[in-house]
Structures are given as structure tokens and as C-alpha cells.
């Protein structure tokens, strides 16, 4: 499903964020990306959904070569990826409903199915009573859970989660991880960038450790 070979990434500022990353994720895999702050976790995820183009190396995502991908294909690819951004990227001028429904609208889903679907995913993350709130009126952790709900709303075959539990207490974090593992059981590939190593102990998965833009360790927890 995902294969990276000698992936290098240099930002316009000159910073080399990734210095030759080799990584293979099978369909249905459950992978943790760990590493110190600035190790390159977010950068790896960003290359996967084509937000930044790698400077050098091979990258295939769901069978598509990310170096030569056309705009139309990239769009299709993105519609099949659920992304939880590290900075959430909620739209503050729209309700929680609109935020969570956005991927469905983008994909042109049946408008009558929006509300039931959005309600269901918000229930998963424990925010069903905040359907018509604006993100501003939510606590930090609640905002993060809205972002998680949005990533799951269109039931994508690949979920990329960048620090999904950074603002959540242990109980809620466990619950979210349970949820992701349940999705994983049904075939969804999940890649989680996290620094919360205590989660790894309770929820098994393949662990890829990054350090200064390179993979230094790969193991199963």
C-alpha cells in the first residue's frame, strides 16, 4: 500500500527534514511513527498525502507514484485518505457538523446521508451533543476529537493521524485508539505519529522510530 525508498525531503528554507527514509506499510497495517520533536514524523505524513513533494527517492501510495502523480489522481487519492492534522485545521466559521461533513461534501456524497453519518462519527468520539456548536466553543480536547471525527467520516481505507491524542486525557486517548484499532480490524490502514509512548503498550502495532529524519528502529509492540 505504501512504500518509501531513500526518501529525502528538503524544505524551501534549506532544512533537510527527511534524510533517506525507507518504509513499507502493508494494506491493513497499524503503524506508529515515533521520534523526538522535529524528528520528521509530520513530514513523512505530509509526503503521503502529497502536501509536499519529496526532493529525492521513491514514494508509492496506494499504487501511485507520488513523484509523477497527476492532479486528478492526487485528488482521488486524497479523497481516499482520512487525515488528522497536528494543528487540527478546523474551520472556525462553520459548525462542527459542517466541519465533519466537509469530506463527504467534497466527495459529493448523497446529502440526505450526511446528517446520520456525521452524528454517528461524533458519537464515536463522544461529541454528539456538540453537533451544532462552533469549534470556538469547544475545549482543546473536544476540538481535537472533531478533527478525528472528520478524518473518519468518509470511511477512508487509509487514516493518517498526526498526534491525535496530544490534547486528550488518558481515558479518552485510549478510547480513540480503541476506535482506530476497530477500524483497522475492518481493513483500514492506520498510521499514527505520536509521542505518547504509553499508548504503544496498551495498543499493539508496528513501531517506526525516527531520529533527525531517518528511521533508526523498527519493531512490533
Amino acid at each position: 500500500m505504501i512504500s518509501m525508498q531513500k526518501l529525502m525531503l528538503r524544505y524551501p528554507t534549506g532544512k533537510t527534514a527527511l534524510a533517506g527514509v525507507d518504509l513499507k506499510v502493508e494494506q491493513g497495517g497499524f503503524v506508529y511513527l515515533i521520534g523526538e520533536s522535529g524528528a520528521g514524523k509530520s513530514s513523512v505524513l505530509r509526503t503521503l498525502y502529497g502536501d509536499i513533494a519529496p526532493s529525492y527517492g521513491e514514494l508509492h501510495v496506494q499504487g501511485m507514484d507520488m513523484r509523477t502523480i497527476t492532479t486528478a489522481n492526487l485528488r482521488q487519492l486524497r479523497q481516499r485518505i482520512g487525515i488528522i492534522f497536528q494543528d487540527h485545521k478546523l474551520i472556525f466559521s462553520r459548525t462542527v457538523f459542517e466541519n465533519v461533513a466537509l469530506p463527504l461534501r467534497v466527495q459529493g456524497r448523497d446529502l440526505n446521508r450526511l446528517l446520520p453519518r456525521v452524528k454517528k462519527v461524533l458519537e464515536f468520539v463522544g461529541l454528539s451533543e456538540h453537533l451544532w456548536s462552533y469549534p470556538e466553543a469547544l475545549s482543546g480536547g473536544e476540538q481535537q476529537r472533531v478533527a478525528i471525527a472528520r478524518a473518519m467520516s468518509s470511511n477512508p481505507p487509509l487514516i493518517l493521524a498526526d498526534e491525535p491524542t496530544g490534547n486528550l486525557d488518558v481515558v479518552t486517548a485510549r478510547h480513540i485508539l480503541d476506535l482506530l484499532q476497530a477500524l483497522n480490524k475492518h481493513g483500514t490502514t492506520v498510521i499514527i505519529a505520536t509521542h505518547d509512548i504509553h499508548l504503544l503498550q496498551s495498543h499493539a502495532g508496528k513501531i517506526v522510530q525516527l531520529h533527525q529524519g531517518a528511521v533508526v528502529d523498527t519493531k512490533a509492540s
Partner: protein, 294 residues
């Protein structure tokens, strides 16, 4: 909140489920500027229409007068033949002695003095009737022709000749001005939308990251541009119409029958066109912004 409200929130959307951006201060400002500009433009065109009718009303009265002195009466026939051949001249007429007398008498303040003896030494007067479209050089042509045979023209009547050509210039000028104003309005709408797009750059970026189609991202802005144009154009026409109503009695006194309805589709349609084109210009930047990220 009730299920009812929930359903309403879900349904009131544009096709594609997109929400129209809120009509804020920026849009209102742009719409106002465009509206005032179109209003003034409309007034100018109505003014031209009025001038056209007004000129039409006295155009039939335009005459040029050529004077041939008493001593040169033998030149009268060749002069009349020559004048008839000047391009743009419809017909000529020799003014009767009595007419000249009456005219002179009137000019002298109806003093009732016997002008008969006087008129006998007066020059012969030839009245020249121009064609409907008076060209710029007609008066000079007549003057030159007259001078060749020792006759003179009434210099003050040269204004009649220039009025018509001035009017044509005005029409051209108005077309150019219309094009310029349309361009300026396009720039204003495009800049306004560009600001809004800038303010919503994060949202646009997010939608692209979710794999949104181009039309999904751009449509609301295009619609908004067209809407601003439509509103401005219609309102501008309405203001023009109001002005006409206010001047109704005055216009009917001048026997002008203004038709403002033909302006409605022109202004509303023009507004939509301007707004839409402005939006296309503004959104064309959107692509370039994100092209580097891909």
C-alpha cells in the same frame, strides 16, 4: 436544537453542498462602489439619449445663411449652383426680400420703423439646408465656396455645425468610458474577492487536502462575484430609474420621452459579466498559489 433546525441547516446549500461565503463588509463596499459607478454610467447614457432627442427636435431648424452684397447680384446664380454641389447640402433657397425685411424689423426691436427703403440696399440672403447628418467640415466648405464668389456667411451659425460632430465625439467617448469603467469595476470586484480568498486561504488549502475538485473550491467565489455584479447593476439601474422619475415633469416639458427599460438588461447583465469575469481573474490566482505545493 430540534431536528427541524438541523434539517434546515443541512439543506440550505448551493449545489455541491457549498456554503456561500458571508456577505460581509468587503463585499458591500465593492458592491457600493460598482453600483455608484454603473449608476453614473447609466446617467451618462440616459443623458446621451436625451441629448439625441433634443438635437433631433431642433435639427430640422438648422439653416446656414449666405449673404451676397447688392452690387454683386449677378453672381447670385453661379453661387447658388456652387452651394448646391457642396457635399452634405440638402437644398438651398433664396430668401425673399420681404422675409429679410420682417426679420430685420424684428431684430431692431419691433420699433415699427419703415425698413422698406433700407431693405432695398440689403444683401441677398441664401438659406442653405444641410442634410440630416451634418459633417464636421460642412460649414467651412460653404464658407470657402461663398468666399470664392465674394459672398459671406453668418459666422455665428458655425456652432450648429460643430454641435452635431461634438455629439458623435461624445458617443465615442462614452463608449470608451464605459469600457474603462467596466474594467475598473472588474478590478475592484476581483481585488475584493482576492482579499476574501486570502482571508480564507486556510479553508481552501484544507479543501484541496481533502481532494476537492476545482469547481468545488472556486464556484462559491465565481457565484459571489456574479452576485455582486448583479446586485450592483440592478440597483444602479433602479437609481437611474428613480432619477428619471424625479425629473419626469421637467423632461416632459422638454418633450423628451426617455426609455430606461432597455438599460435594465444591459446593466444587470453587464454587472453579472463584470462580476463573473472579476471572479475568474481573482480565482485564477488560487491555482497558482497551490501549484507549488503539489
Amino acid at each position: 436544537m430540534t431536528q427541524n433546525k438541523a434539517q434546515k441547516n443541512v439543506k440550505t446549500r448551493l449545489p455541491g453542498g457549498y456554503q456561500l461565503p458571508p456577505f460581509g463588509i468587503q463585499q458591500s463596499l465593492a458592491a457600493t462602489i460598482v453600483c455608484v459607478a454603473l449608476w453614473m454610467l447609466g446617467m451618462f447614457w440616459l443623458g446621451l439619449q436625451a441629448t439625441e432627442q433634443w438635437i433631433g427636435s431642433w435639427q430640422d431648424d438648422i439653416r446656414f445663411h449666405v449673404y451676397l452684397e447688392h452690387e454683386q447680384k449677378d453672381q447670385l446664380k453661379p453661387l447658388m449652383a456652387k452651394l448646391k454641389e457642396v457635399p452634405g447640402v440638402d437644398s438651398i433657397r433664396l430668401v425673399q426680400q420681404e422675409e429679410t425685411e420682417a426679420w430685420l424689423s424684428k431684430w431692431l426691436g419691433d420699433s415699427g420703423l419703415t425698413t422698406k427703403e433700407m431693405a432695398e440696399v440689403l444683401p441677398s440672403v441664401i438659406e442653405v439646408l444641410p442634410e440630416r447628418n451634418i459633417h464636421e467640415f460642412l460649414f467651412t466648405d460653404i464658407k470657402d465656396e461663398a468666399a470664392l464668389l465674394g459672398a459671406s456667411v453668418n459666422e455665428e451659425e458655425s456652432y450648429f455645425a460643430t454641435a452635431q460632430s461634438l455629439f458623435d465625439d461624445m458617443r465615442l467617448f462614452l463608449w470608451i468610458m464605459s469600457a474603462l469603467i467596466a474594467l475598473a469595476m472588474m478590478v475592484i470586484i476581483s481585488n475584493t474577492l482576492r482579499m476574501i480568498i486570502l482571508a480564507r486561504a486556510d479553508e481552501i488549502h484544507l479543501m484541496r487536502l481533502l481532494g476537492a475538485q476545482e469547481w468545488f473550491v472556486r464556484m462559491p467565489f465565481l457565484l459571489e462575484g456574479a452576485l455582486i455584479g448583479l446586485l450592483s447593476g440592478t440597483l444602479a439601474w433602479f437609481m437611474d430609474w428613480c432619477v428619471l422619475q424625479l425629473m419626469a415633469t421637467w423632461l416632459s416639458e422638454l418633450q423628451l420621452d426617455m426609455n430606461s427599460w432597455y438599460l435594465l438588461p444591459v446593466m444587470a447583465g453587464g454587472g453579472v459579466l463584470i462580476g463573473f469575469t472579476g471572479a475568474v481573474i481573482a480565482t485564477s490566482d488560487v491555482k497558482q498559489e497551490t501549484a507549488s505545493i503539489l
